[in-house]
Symmetry: C2
Subunit: 196 residues, 2 copies
């Protein structure tokens, strides 16, 4: 019964930073909250129209460089109120589908090489992410003087960094365990794997 429609709040949140067009919003969401939130244009544009009808946002046309018109949306007091109401509600734990973990869980059905291919790829991805996060972090610290937002962004990035580090530590552990033992000898020693 309870309609979530979280796309709505992801958009409203973005508009508390500054007014944006649909295109901007999609890009913003990808660039800032991309590691834990995604929206497609097929949702953003219809949702903006809906929220315009509901007076959660206002729209004014701005001419961008050429003749193309750009619709810049601004959040209203009503929109802000709706956002705040949602923000204060306890977040419902969405069980994400982590494909990597599912594949590794049923790793019995993979060869050692296939298994390691997945974890090495994950390790590489997490290393890249970590670098990306640290770059963003430095960027926010230096370029942003609008404290009210950037304080919270830094805390969020910190969480992302911790997450990436945990994934890296996990991958390393796996590689250590897989490298030191061949699968045939695991029967004897698997119980001694350290789980500190």
């Amino acid at each position: 019964m309870a309609q979530t429609q979280k796309t709505r709040y992801a958009i409203l949140g973005a508009l508390t930073v500054f007014p944006m067009s649909g295109y901007d919003i999609k890009k913003w969401i990808k660039d800032t909250t991309g590691s834990f939130w995604a929206e497609s244009s097929g949702r953003v544009y219809p949702m903006l129209s809906e929220m315009l009808r509901e007076k959660f946002v206002t729209c004014n046309l701005t001419q961008s460089v050429g003749k193309r018109c750009k619709k810049t949306y601004t959040i209203t007091a009503k929109g802000k109120a709706a956002l705040k109401t949602w923000l204060t509600k306890p977040p419902q734990p969405t069980v994400s589908r982590d494909e990597l973990r599912l594949k590794l869980f049923y790793g019995k059905n993979l060869t050692k090489a296939q298994y390691l291919k997945h974890t090495l790829e994950q390790q590489k991805n997490m290393q890249q992410r970590l670098k990306y996060y640290q770059k963003i972090q430095a960027h926010i610290k230096t370029a942003h003087n609008d404290i009210s937002d950037s304080f919270y962004w830094l805390l969020t990035i910190k969480g992302a960094i911790y997450h990436a580090r945990a994934e890296l530590a996990w991958c390393k552990d796996i590689h250590k365990i897989m490298a030191s033992k061949d699968l045939a000898s695991l029967k004897k020693s698997h119980k001694s794997i350290s789980f500190t």
Copy 2:
């Protein structure tokens, strides 16, 4: 174009452990891979019928305790082959929607108390999870002698434990930062927040 249908593989994976009924499968998925994978009965039962037609599984009726009949599904060679093909493919990074993170990212729009309510709740949840994982971990180590599976399960749990620990460390950091500074003084000192 590329149809994912991951429910299919979550089920097939479960059936590589032992034959199960639809009810068992749903319970199994929840109990073992529940922290990173979810399936609803509205998907499990139709998918089992579909896979029966495709000869990925076979079905035989077993009388459970009373008169209720139970359909026990067994994975076929064809099903195993399909699973292995999928397992070896690089997992596509599904961007989950982490509601907590979105809410904290736009934390500017929350009061300090509201913000802390979310992070304290997350801390509590992660502590509970951690205990749960450690219980399961101990259980697998002692009760399971079928090494081929349990080795991979232990590695997966290790990842879950690392993840929970990272979340806990993050929450603690947030509480430290939020406690030591009142929001009014943040303007001066936010750049000195340690991001080690």
